[in-house]
C-alpha cells in the first residue's frame, strides 16, 4: 500500500490547498469523534444487556466523513450500508435518531423499530432505507442517479459497501450500468480486509478492488481511510465529475475494522492480535487529531469543549431513547402497502 500513499506528512498547506477552513476541520473532527462515541456507547449498552445487538463503524469514520464532506447535504443522496454511522451523522441524523434505532423504540426514524440496528433511513436527509442483503444498495443508487439525470435535478448519489460485498453480482451490474450511462454516482468501497472472518485473499485475486473500475469505463482510486483529507480530496473530485456529467467514480478507502464484525462475532478466532494492533495505528480519529494539533487547529481547550458536547449528546440520546416506549404491537401490520 505504501506506493499509493503519495501524500506528504500533514502540513498546514494541505487543508488550505483543499479550501478547507479550520472550522470545517473542527466540524469534521467532531463528526468522527461523535460517531465513535455513539458507537462505543452502543457496545457498552449491548454488553450491559440493554440491547441485544450492535454492529459497528469503528475505524471507518474518517473515510466516511472525508468523502461525505464533499457532498451537498441538502440535495445529494446517501444509500448507505451498516457501517456508515458517521456518514449518516454527516447527512444530518442525530444521536437521538441513531439511539432510537439501537433500542428499536417508537419514533425510530429509520424503521420504526422494525429493522436491526444500523439499518438507517431518513427521507428528510435523503438517506435511502438500508437492507441487510449486501450489495443490493448499489443498484438502488444507480437507479436514483438515473432518475436524477433524467429529471435534471443536479443531485448525485453516494453509496458504499465493504470489500467483501463487491463479490456479489449486484455490485458488477451496478458498476456496469453506471458506466454505460455516466451516472452521477460516487461508489465507495470501505475495504477493511475482512468480510466477517474471510480475508481479502479468499475474496478477490487483486489487492485493490479499485482496479476494476477501468473495466467499467470510469476511474477507480485508492485512498488511505485514516487520512481524512485524502478522502475528502477523492470525494471532492468524484463529486465534481458527477456534477459535471463526467460519470461515476469508485473510491476505495483502505480502512480498519477496529471491533469484531458485530456483537455476535468473536474475532480472536480468526484474526491475529498483531493484526488488530496494527489496525489501531491507522485510526483516523487519532491520525486526524494529530494533524489538527500539528496545524494548530485543535488545542486542549477546543478538544475538551468538543468532548463535552459529544458526551452530553450521547448521554442525552441514550436516556431519551431508553425512555421511549417500544413500538405498539398494534402497528405491526401497517405500511405493508401504502395507506390511504
Amino acid at each position: 500500500m505504501a506506493a499509493r500513499e503519495t501524500h506528504a506528512r500533514p502540513t498546514g498547506a494541505r487543508h488550505e490547498a483543499l479550501g478547507l477552513h479550520p472550522d470545517d476541520l473542527l466540524e469534521m473532527y467532531y463528526h468522527i469523534a461523535l460517531a465513535r462515541a455513539i458507537d462505543e456507547r452502543m457496545w457498552v449498552l449491548q454488553r450491559a444487556g440493554l440491547v441485544p445487538f450492535v454492529i459497528s463503524g469503528q475505524g471507518h469514520e474518517g473515510a466516511q466523513v472525508g468523502v461525505m464532506w464533499a457532498t451537498d447535504r441538502t440535495r445529494d443522496w446517501l444509500v448507505p450500508y451498516y457501517r456508515q454511522l458517521a456518514a449518516c451523522l454527516v447527512r444530518g441524523m442525530s444521536a437521538r435518531d441513531l439511539m432510537l434505532g439501537l433500542f428499536a423504540r417508537e419514533g425510530d426514524p429509520s424503521s420504526g423499530g422494525r429493522q436491526m440496528p444500523a439499518h438507517w433511513a431518513d427521507p428528510r436527509h435523503r438517506i435511502m432505507t438500508t437492507s441487510s442483503p449486501v450489495a443490493t444498495q448499489y443498484l438502488h443508487a444507480v437507479g436514483i442517479a438515473y432518475a436524477a439525470k433524467v429529471r435534471g435535478t443536479g443531485e448525485l448519489v453516494v453509496t458504499s459497501m465493504g470489500e467483501g460485498s463487491t463479490s456479489q453480482g449486484d455490485w458488477h451490474e451496478a458498476m456496469n450500468f453506471a458506466g454505460v450511462h455516466r451516472l452521477p454516482v460516487v461508489f465507495m468501497v470501505e475495504n477493511n480486509r475482512y468480510a466477517i472472518s474471510v480475508p481479502t485473499r479468499l475474496q478477490m485475486a487483486v489487492e485493490d478492488v479499485a482496479v476494476r473500475a477501468a473495466g467499467y469505463g470510469f476511474p477507480g482510486v485508492v485512498v488511505d481511510g485514516s487520512d481524512v483529507l485524502a478522502c475528502y480530496e477523492a470525494g471532492r473530485e468524484a463529486v465534481r465529475r458527477a456534477r459535471a456529467g463526467e460519470g461515476p467514480t469508485l473510491i476505495e478507502c483502505k480502512v480498519e475494522r477496529l471491533t469484531a464484525h458485530s456483537s455476535e462475532d468473536r474475532q480472536e478466532k480468526y484474526r491475529p492480535t498483531a493484526d488488530l494492533e496494527a489496525a489501531r495505528s491507522k485510526d483516523a480519529l487519532v491520525v486526524f487529531k494529530h494533524y489538527l494539533e500539528q496545524v494548530g487547529v485543535l488545542d486542549e481547550a477546543r478538544y475538551t469543549e468538543i468532548y463535552r458536547r459529544i458526551r452530553a449528546e450521547v448521554n442525552d440520546a441514550t436516556d431519551y431513547a431508553e425512555a421511549r416506549p417500544m413500538p405498539d404491537a398494534a402497528t405491526v401490520g401497517r405500511h405493508v402497502y401504502a395507506e390511504e
Binding site: R114, P123, S131, T136, V142, V150, F177, R334, Y337
Partner: protein
Amino acid sequence: MAELRYIDAIRDAMLTEMRRDERVLVLGEDVGVKGGVFGATDGFHAEFGEARVLDTPLAESLIVGAAIGMAVGGLRPIAEIQFSDFIFPAFNQIVSEAARIRYRSAGAFGCPLVIRAPYGGGVEVHGGLYHSQSVEAFFAHVPGLKVVTPYAPSDAKGLLIAAIRDPDPVLFLEHKRLYRALREDVPEGDYTVPIGPALVRRGGTTLSVFAYGQMLHEALRAAGDVAAEGLDVEVVDLRTLRPLDAATILASVRKTGKALIVYEDNRFMGFGAEVAALIAEEAFDALDGPIVRVGGLDVPAVPYADTLAAAFMPTAGKIADAMRRLAAY
C-alpha cells in the same frame, strides 16, 4: 372503443400513461428500437426517446434494482422481464427489496414500480423448459407485492394503468398465449380496472371454477362443453392474485357448494393451494364435495416436444373431466 388484442391493450396502456405522465418510463432488454420481443413497446423509442425507453444491459437484477432506485428517485418505472422464466436473477431485488422498502422504513419510502413479465406455455408456445414457466406462486407469497394476471384485453389495459399508478410494486403477468388470441372492445384513453376484485365471467350453480390467465380460457371452454350435459358451471376470473378477492371466491362457493381450481403452474404449492386452503377454512360449512385442483404436472417446467408439452398442460378436456367428476360427487 377499439377492438384490441391483449398485446395491443398492454401497449395502449403504457402509451397512455407515458403520454400523460412524463415520470413514466420503460426499461428492459430489447424494449428500445426493437420494441420488445413481443412488440409491447413497439414505436416507443421513436416517440419518447432513449432515456424513457431504456434498453438495459442483460441483467435482471439490475433491471429491478435500478428500477427501485428510479422509483425512489421520483420516476415511475415499468420494468419488462423478457420472459418470466428470467425473473429469478431478480428474485432478491423483488422479494428482499422492492416488496419491503415501505415496510422496512415504516412508510417513509415507497416503491411505485411495475414489473411486466410474459409467462406461460403450451404446445403452441414451443418454449421448452425456460420459455414457458408460470411464476405467480413464488411472488403471490410475498407481502408488499401485488400480483396481477389479467385474462381479457380490457382488463389488461385497465389493470396495467392501475398498476402504473399504484404506489406499491406490482408484478404484472401476461400469458403469452393470450397476446394474440382474442380481440375485445377496449375503452380508449384513460381507463382503469381496480387491482383486487375478481370477476364472475360465467354464472352457474353446479360448481365454481377459479382460474386466471390462459387457464381461464380453457375453463370457459370446458364449462361450455359440459353445459350440454346439464352442468351449470360458474367461472371466476381471479385477475388479481395478491391481494386475493376472498369475498367473491367464498360467495361463489357458498352458492354452488363445490370448488375446482385450475392453474397451469406446477400443481404442488401452486397458487391453487391457497385458494383451496382459503375455501377449506372459510367456507367449509358450505362445501358439498372435495376441493379439486387441476394443475400442471410436477416436473420442472413445460417440456419442448409437443407430445411432452401436451402431457404437461391442463387443457379444456382435462378440466371438463374434473368438472364431471366433481359434479357427480
